[in-house]
């Protein structure tokens, strides 16, 4: 199957999912979600415009899709109550989002048409007089200004974080490849020892899977939950 169909730019995981179902002319059902799971994963692996901050959102949806897909492959698989709830959440969210995505098109038509209303300026022609509020003091101005100043750094910091977090899965793959070339062998826990948060660990894990798929690295895990060792397949010559 060829997944390399270009989608319009998508905004967030739900938008991507909706576009994928629409492209395949599918309704939003579990069967169709299972069908597009691979495409979804492929997209987030390739997407260069998903920032780390957004990646968490994409991964949450990915984990639910994988659940749905595994049930489609293994019908005997029973969902736990929590898993069932998560899948229902996703279905509900998709339906909700679709409603607004559709109506936004109609809203845009209204917005862009020439049929706008206009208001008039208030109290036109009023003589230029001075109408101060009673009892206002310069301390009131000071208080108001200081309060406003106090709220600035919070906003600033948020924006800073958003900018710093532009780190894509592709970056991680490159980083992993480089590390392995240098060291030939490493472990997963070593790789993520500097990870700032859970998301970065998940991204590293996805990156690792991608490299396994491309046969660039080899991984070994003795038993469940034990250390994962990674090895560069150095004799891979093209």
């Amino acid at each position: 199957m060829d997944y390399n169909i270009k989608l319009e730019q998508f905004e967030g995981p739900l938008d991507l999912l909706l576009q994928l179902t629409q492209q395949e002319k599918l309704d939003i059902t579990r069967v169709s979600l299972a069908k597009i799971t691979d495409q979804y994963l492929e997209y987030i692996a390739q997407a260069k415009n998903i920032t780390l901050a957004h990646l968490a959102d994409f991964l949450t949806v990915a984990s639910r899709l994988i659940l749905i897909k595994s049930k489609a492959l293994l019908p005997m698989l029973e969902f736990t109550e929590e898993e069932e709830e998560e899948i229902k959440d996703l279905e509900y969210q998709l339906a909700e989002y679709k409603k607004f995505k559709d109506v936004a098109v109609k809203m845009a038509e209204l917005f862009d048409s020439l049929d706008h209303s206009f208001s008039r300026d208030g109290f036109v022609g009023l003589p230029n007089l001075f109408y101060p509020p009673k009892n206002i003091t310069s301390e009131d101005l000071l208080k108001s200004f200081s309060k406003m100043l106090g709220e600035i750094p919070v906003q600033e910091k948020l924006e800073q974080e958003m900018i710093e977090n532009v780190l894509t899965l592709e970056d991680k793959i490159l980083h992993l490849q480089k590390t392995l070339r240098r060291k030939v062998e490493t472990s997963f826990s070593e790789l993520v020892s500097n990870a700032k948060d859970k998301v970065e660990i998940v991204v590293s894990f996805l990156a690792m899977l991608e490299l396994v798929k491309q046969r660039i690295i080899h991984v070994e895990q003795g038993e469940l939950f034990s250390e994962i060792n990674l090895k560069h397949i150095s004799d891979k010559k093209v």
């Binding site: 969210q93 409603k99 917005f111 209303s117 206009f118």
Partner: protein, 182 residues
């Protein structure tokens, strides 16, 4: 005050104010009860349905505003020589729609529907005056967002209730089903 008289005074007040005005404020000035005011507003609205009317009444929550009829927008635009504003991106229109149908709504709730962070979109809508931000009555540190009169004027829609499919979209089925279960 006689009814005809009340309608006339009401129209004068709305005309002079220009900006949106709270109904409660009008009650104080007119010395009447909400019921009478609503009746007079209804009559005013009826009057503006006449084909000759170039004025109409918009309302949003507890506020009302007199505006020019949307169908004359083209001519008013020539008179005001408004600078063309950039169209809204599809993402911004989605966020604005969610706020129009579900507002007042918090950022978290908007993001739950869209599945993605919308801090930047909210900021640009706020700067353009298409949405309003107010303190969240349920959370003292947070805000809730609502559509502005300017957005309604751009749409040429006198009230959110007249938005396409308002009855269906304004309801969050899940919240409603939780309530009906109880």
């Amino acid at each position: 005050m006689e009814k005809d008289n009340l309608i006339s005074v009401l129209e004068s007040l709305l005309f002079v104010t220009g900006e949106p005005i709270k109904k409660a404020k009008l009650l104080g000035i007119l010395g009447i009860e909400m019921e009478q005011l609503d009746e007079a507003l209804q009559a005013l609205m009826e009057k503006y349905k006449n084909a000759q009317s170039g004025i109409t009444l918009f309302s949003k929550g507890e506020e009302i505003q007199l505006v020019s009829s949307p169908e004359n927008g083209e001519f008013v635009e020539i008179l005001l020589k408004n600078e063309m504003q950039d169209a809204l991106s599809p993402a911004a229109m989605e966020v604005a729609s969610i706020i129009a149908y579900r507002g007042p709504i918090s950022k978290t709730e908007i993001e739950a529907i869209r599945g993605v962070n919308c801090a930047y979109t909210l900021r640009s809508l706020l700067l353009r005056g298409l949405i309003e931000r107010n303190d969240n009555p349920g959370d003292s540190r947070g805000y809730v967002y609502a559509i502005s009169f300017d957005f309604l004027k751009k749409l040429g829609v006198e009230n959110v209730n007249n938005l396409p499919e308002y009855d269906i979209l304004s309801k969050d089925e899940r919240i409603n089903s939780i309530i009906s279960k109880e």
